[in-house]
Symmetry: C2
Subunit: 243 residues, 2 copies
DNA sequence: CGAGGGGTTGACGCCGATCAAAGCTGGTGG
DNA sequence: CCACCAGCTTTGATCGGCGTCAACCCCTCG
């Protein structure tokens, strides 16, 4: 877990240039959807667009940058790091989600460390810009509220999944969440490494490995390609209910 | 857990009359703080003020009422009820917090069941009223955002506490949270019943009981009066770190 | 080819869930 | 005022699940 952070000290982010929010093909998903095109013409600070490789630390907890990010593609994990060095993943976010919103409430630093799980494609938005747009367009305020509400719902789902049942049931829960939120058009999703899964559901790495291996043997979890897998949803749901 | 819900079928809520937000002595805490006094003069629907006894169900998950609530006094638990009847407490909220905000995002029903833990004193605000005020006063939007952000932070703290350490460590965590957020001027806080604590940290009732009993014997937890207790914060912090 | 990192599997011991029973407390009714 | 009861808490005994330690496999990379 700590390793991944070090890795990213050398990031080779690819700057894709200024974002063209007014011509963004996935705007309805994104943070500035519903704003009129004219809104972007006289911004004080630019909105940039980047691609980062897996493992990149987008920001660190308590660091004092002044950007929020809107995820266009890929998966980001929000990590809580305890003083003793142990890490917990508190949330997993995908396309359409915005991260770093805590800065809008006047917080001086980020509340988590954000790390790219796979290749991530995102827009980097200065806080000042967001505030400026918030003043002019009430609809953006509404949008921020929705984002927060969604993340709150996610967190709640997490809490329930976490504190419920045996290790096997929790791993099943996790796979169902991966399937629900991160599956592509083929129903396949990235299977996180054992360490990340352990950090999410709060059990030992070896236990996760055992459960995943069991699911694979039982064909409940099937390799689709590379590290993408497809799961048998009904079987997993059954497991979450009874051992 | 199910019992408490039944209990509340007979509630004797006391209606304290219309809220006078413009003269509210704790307005800076409350939902409508910073709105000008004139804002309340021409509301379509009234804001009422109630007191409910412990155990009252304020609203049930998925029910279709159209109110959000601002807590003036007392403690409210937000409960997730699984299809198999098991309950998990996902959040504990006190004075100044607003609940039911998910309705503002156009959700058709509440996401949790809200139950009064002790005697609760709250303002009942029609969604229509909130929307109306949101349009006129951008500052209210900001306030909603802050509320959500706070609850998100709480949920994250919960996740970390939940998935970390032994049963003893988790109970210690829980007591520290109670002390931090719900202690009165004498540092005393309500000691929840074992069932509620178990529902929060995801362990068995008997285990909670054992831990609490141990803490009492070790004088880490001392009775202040009735069901209010005072805890030795440093001792508990020590426990959260090492067994 | 060797080294290293991630995944899998086995063995063992302990924590905590579960079942069971016995205090404790407050409330009710005789 | 006491007896009784119901619900909550505490405590004990037992057993299974999971954390821990360790070995081994597989793959990638230098």
């Amino acid at each position: 877990m700590g390793k991944q952070i070090e890795k990213s000290l050398c990031t080779n982010a690819e700057w894709l240039g200024r974002s063209h929010c007014d011509r963004c093909h996935i705007r309805q998903l994104m943070f500035f959807s519903e704003l009129p095109e004219t809104a972007f013409s006289h911004l004080l600070k630019p909105i940039d667009h980047y691609i980062y490789p897996p493992g990149t630390v987008l920001y660190e907890a308590k660091s004092q940058k002044q950007f929020i990010y809107s995820i266009r593609r890929g998966m980001v994990k929000l990590v809580h790091e305890a003083m003793d060095g142990t890490c917990r993943i508190v949330r997993l976010l995908g396309p359409g989600a915005a991260i770093g919103l805590e800065l809008l409430d006047g917080e001086s630093g980020y509340h988590h460390t954000a790390i790219a799980v796979d290749q991530v494609d995102l827009c980097k938005i200065p806080v000042a810009t967001t505030r400026q747009l918030q003043q002019d367009y009430a609809t953006l305020c509404r949008h921020v509220g929705e984002q927060l509400q969604e993340q709150l719902d996610l967190a709640d789902q997490w809490i329930v999944a976490l504190s419920t049942g045996t290790a096997k049931q929790r791993v099943a829960q996790l796979l169902l969440i991966m399937d629900e939120f991160f599956a592509d058009e083929n129903q396949s999703f990235i299977l996180l490494n054992r360490e990340d899964m352990a950090a999410m559901i709060g059990i030992a790495v070896e236990t996760v490995s055992r459960m995943i291996a069991t699911f694979k043997r039982q064909k409940i979890l099937k390799r689709y390609k590379e590290n993408r897998y497809i799961c048998n949803v009904t079987a997993l749901q059954e497991i979450t209910r009874h051992g």
